[in-house]
């Protein structure tokens, strides 16, 4: 695409954003995104789905400002509840809980929020920058990834489980196995059969992810909180604005984690089907691996907040790659967003960027602006948000549970979702009690279905020939990386043990 054309489109899009109505819709989108993001059970997909009919008749550029605003702000909102009440506002924020919440308990919530917000912004911007940079290559990138590559990515993600069990290897694997079983529930489009649906057709589409994750992380945490009682944080140290800036500074100190998270987020976002949750978890695991103090992860290491938050925003830019290239949604929000495009007469497909470049650039610009504005808003209100950690759980718990369940119902107006969330809430609480990591279950649940489907697809394509995974360049590279992921930690621990043995005893 000629550069002057792109420049024209960017300027035109900027022009729209700076009009009163354009910026009004952008701000509305940001606020809605933040609110829907921080309330567990709601999220980007619900926000887009609910607002979609209201935009009928709106000018396309203004609609893009609205939805770009929503998409850029959702995971920033979600990080707030992840840090303050250990309850991810949206699934991709689940990884932020692991170190964000311990920080909140230590009275350092302000630092965590500051770091999360700025990491989100920069991650989001990097994602968009990469997107724009690869616009001439969009189609080629999407065409590089077929079922064998998807399968290897899923396997790579599943090996992240092995590394993320945090010391409870056997329990982690059991939880992962359970997650895989859950992943296979439902209709299998490769063989055309319905499995494990317990005779109801609610489960035909498999276990619905949002209700399951809401239950597993949000409701279970509320149950745990109400059992322990009291308040989340015992001190009000971090309500001072200074600590928020300390968090901001931490992001730049740990720029390597930030960069790594952003790159992982963009790449995972660009691969349809994986989504922000996988991006965030992979980024968390990767951050732990490059950290100088990996053993402090899970106890309040700020890098464990920076990595995932950068990733779950970078994925927005990345997920536009297959969406703009061929009309294949790169994430759940994109899938719903396709409906918005159709509503406005913009047909998703390879001609979208060619025929409606201006409108698409409005979206990209709105997304970028939203990342920045959402962070500014969060930073400003951070010191007040932190007060939530001082609220008594008897008030907090019922409010959060009720909001979560209502939000889960709002998704598809199916009561089955509410029951699913409640069931997973109990399951999640039991996992907390008996120290089974929930991360591994989640990763297995998300990736299991993708892995099975793409495995069958790959073998069909190759007429049963297993070497297909090794004869394609990218697939082979992924095999090597996966093997590396599995063996490097073992080698590292061996090396560490050897070093300890060499040091003279104290």
């Amino acid at each position: 695409m000629p550069n002057t054309n792109m420049l024209e489109s960017t300027l035109a899009a900027l022009h729209v954003l700076f009009t009163p109505t354009g910026s009004m819709f952008l701000m509305l989108g940001v606020v809605v995104g933040l609110l829907f993001g921080c309330m567990p059970g709601l999220g980007g997909t619900t926000a887009i789905a609910l607002l979609m009919p209201l935009t009928y008749g709106m000018e396309s550029n203004e609609a893009m400002a609205l939805f770009g605003g929503i998409m850029g702000a959702v995971s920033a909102g979600g990080s707030i509840s992840a840090i303050l009440i250990n309850t991810p506002g949206t699934a991709p924020n689940a990884a932020t809980c692991f170190d964000g919440y311990p920080l909140a308990k230590q009275g350092k919530a302000g630092i965590a929020i500051g770091a999360a917000s700025v990491a989100s912004t920069i991650g989001g911007i990097i994602g968009v920058v990469v997107l724009v940079a690869v616009i001439p290559l969009l189609k080629s990138i999407v065409l590089l990834f077929g079922p064998p590559e998807f399968f290897m990515m899923a396997v790579m993600g599943l090996t992240a489980i092995a590394v993320s069990t945090g010391g409870q290897f056997l329990r982690g694997l059991i939880a992962a196995a359970f997650g895989l079983i859950l992943a296979f529930v439902g209709y299998d489009s490769v063989s055309g059969g319905i499995r494990f649906t317990l005779g109801t057709d609610y489960l035909w589409d498999g276990i619905s992810l949002v209700p399951a994750l809401t239950g597993l992380f949000a409701i279970s945490e509320m149950i745990a909180l109400s059992v322990s009682g009291g308040t989340i944080s015992s001190e009000a140290k971090s309500t001072r604005i200074v600590s928020v800036f300390e968090g901001v500074r931490a992001v730049f100190v740990h720029w390597k984690t930030l960069l790594q998270g952003s790159v992982i987020g963009t790449i995972i976002g660009a691969i349809p089907g994986l989504g922000g949750t996988v991006a965030a978890f992979l980024s968390y695991t990767a951050a732990q691996q490059i950290s100088k103090h990996p053993e402090t992860f899970g106890k309040g290491n700020i890098e464990g907040v920076i990595g995932p938050e950068a990733a779950n925003n970078a994925k927005d830019g990345g997920s536009l790659i297959p969406t703009l290239a061929f009309g294949i949604p790169g994430s759940a929000e994109m899938a719903v967003f396709l409906g918005v495009l159709v509503l406005h007469g913009l047909e998703p497909g390879p001609m979208l960027l060619i025929e409606h470049q201006g409108v698409m650039f409005s979206l990209i610009l709105a997304l970028t602006a939203s990342c920045i504005i959402a962070t500014l808003i969060t930073l400003v209100v951070a010191r007040y948000l932190v007060l939530i950690t001082l609220v008594d759980v008897h008030i907090l718990v019922p409010a959060v549970i009720a909001t979560s369940l209502v939000g889960v119902y709002a998704l598809k107006e199916t009561f089955g979702d509410v029951i699913l969330a409640a069931v997973f809430g109990i399951v999640g609480y039991l996992m907390i009690r008996f120290k089974f990591p929930r991360v591994t279950l989640v990763i297995a649940l998300i990736l299991g279905g993708i892995a099975e489907r793409t495995l069958h697809q790959s073998l069909n394509m190759a007429s049963g020939d297993w070497t297909i995974f090794f004869t394609r360049g990218i697939s082979l590279s992924l095999v090597i990386i996966t093997l590396g992921c599995l063996t490097i930690p073992a080698i590292q621990s061996l090396r560490r043990r050897r070093k300890l043995e060499e040091e003279p005893a104290e």
Partner: protein
């Protein structure tokens, strides 16, 4: 000893209250008020799409919904609702069990929806019992190959002398069935690669080289042909939209002309006659709506409206074409 789950205390009552409150809230939202048939429509109408957003059926419903709203006698909203799952069967099962009060209608993929029954599967809906409202469109199929493929004609496909790989979403889809019909008629052995998430996905898969050729609606393929990624091989239209693409009739098989994915509107069984009348009239009026015509033209979709009785008759006719090949319609990967 710390508080455990089993001890009473702050845990029990607080949690119970919260769950009950949430449950009551959710239940009150689900209980619908009964509606008198004479005032129809008085509540919003859910127009259910059995597939996920972005595809052809989704597009059709979203294009028609505003026109339907304008055509209905009372002001209500027509809400496009995606209920994907089980190759479209989930949504149809839902309609089968829904209340026959005209608040839920669905768009159905024909003859795809009839395939499971045709191949002897036990399904959760009965097309004969459902209330037929209208046919909105018929999108003829086309066979296409990647633009850079060395295959230039159907004869080239035959010359390959091997199994031809054709992708589709799943074995219950009309595209899958059309592929079977095409393959059998032309004497090609097919390897059907199912499992793709949507039509766009499997067209891209064909461009990528996962498959040799694909069968898809002309309107969906149009944008990939316009972008230079795909090239038409043969079309099942009466007259070819794209220059240089032969019709199936010109290749000696006129009986396959009209092989198409048809979009029908269905309502729950036992829907009262006056509700059907209002809906049918509204769809008929919507089909002449100038804004709809303009929008469908822009989307390269054709309006092929048929009223309730004509729709049911046409559906039965289409099913018959596929029934001839039903031996090969079963699950591909047993």
């Amino acid at each position: 000893m710390q508080n455990t789950v089993l001890t009473s205390g702050p845990f029990g009552p607080v949690l119970a209250k919260a769950v009950i409150a949430a449950a009551v809230g959710a239940v009150t939202m689900t209980s619908p008020a009964p509606v008198r048939a004479a005032d129809y429509p008085s509540k919003n109408i859910e127009f259910v799409i059995p597939f996920s957003a972005g595809g052809g059926f989704d597009r059709t419903v979203r294009l028609w919904s505003p026109a339907l709203e304008r055509a209905l006698p009372h002001k209500v909203q027509v809400l496009p609702t995606n209920v994907p799952g089980a190759g479209g069967r989930k949504a149809l099962a839902m309609i089968m069990r829904a209340k026959p009060d005209g608040t839920k209608i669905a768009i159905a993929n024909m003859p795809g929806a009839a395939l499971p029954e045709m191949t002897g599967e036990k399904i959760e809906y009965d097309l004969d019992k459902m209330t037929w409202i209208a046919r909105l469109g018929a999108e003829p199929y086309m066979v296409a190959v990647p633009a850079k493929s060395s295959i230039k004609s159907v004869a080239d496909l035959k010359k390959l002398n091997r199994t031809i790989k054709i992708p589709s979403t799943d074995y219950g889809s009309t595209a899958f069935a059309a592929g079977v019909v095409f393959g059998e008629t032309m004497g090609l052995k097919l390897n059907q690669l199912t499992g793709y998430k949507g039509t766009n996905d499997y067209i891209v898969a064909t461009i990528r080289g996962d498959a040799d050729a694909c069968v898809a609606p002309v309107s969906t393929l149009a944008k990939f042909i316009k972008s230079g990624d795909m090239r038409g091989l043969v079309t099942f239209e009466d007259k070819s939209t794209f220059e240089g693409v032969p019709t199936i009739a010109s290749l000696g098989h006129p009986e396959l002309t009209g092989l198409a994915v048809e979009r029908y509107v269905l309502a729950p069984p036992k829907t009262p006659a006056n509700i059907v009348k209002v809906l049918s009239a509204a769809f008929a009026k919507a089909s002449t709506d100038p804004q709809l015509i303009e929008a469908t033209e822009k989307a390269k979709e054709e309006i092929a409206y048929l009223d309730a009785d004509a729709a049911k008759a046409q559906a039965e006719k289409s099913i018959k074409i596929y029934e001839k090949h039903k031996k090969l319609m079963g699950r591909p990967n047993d």
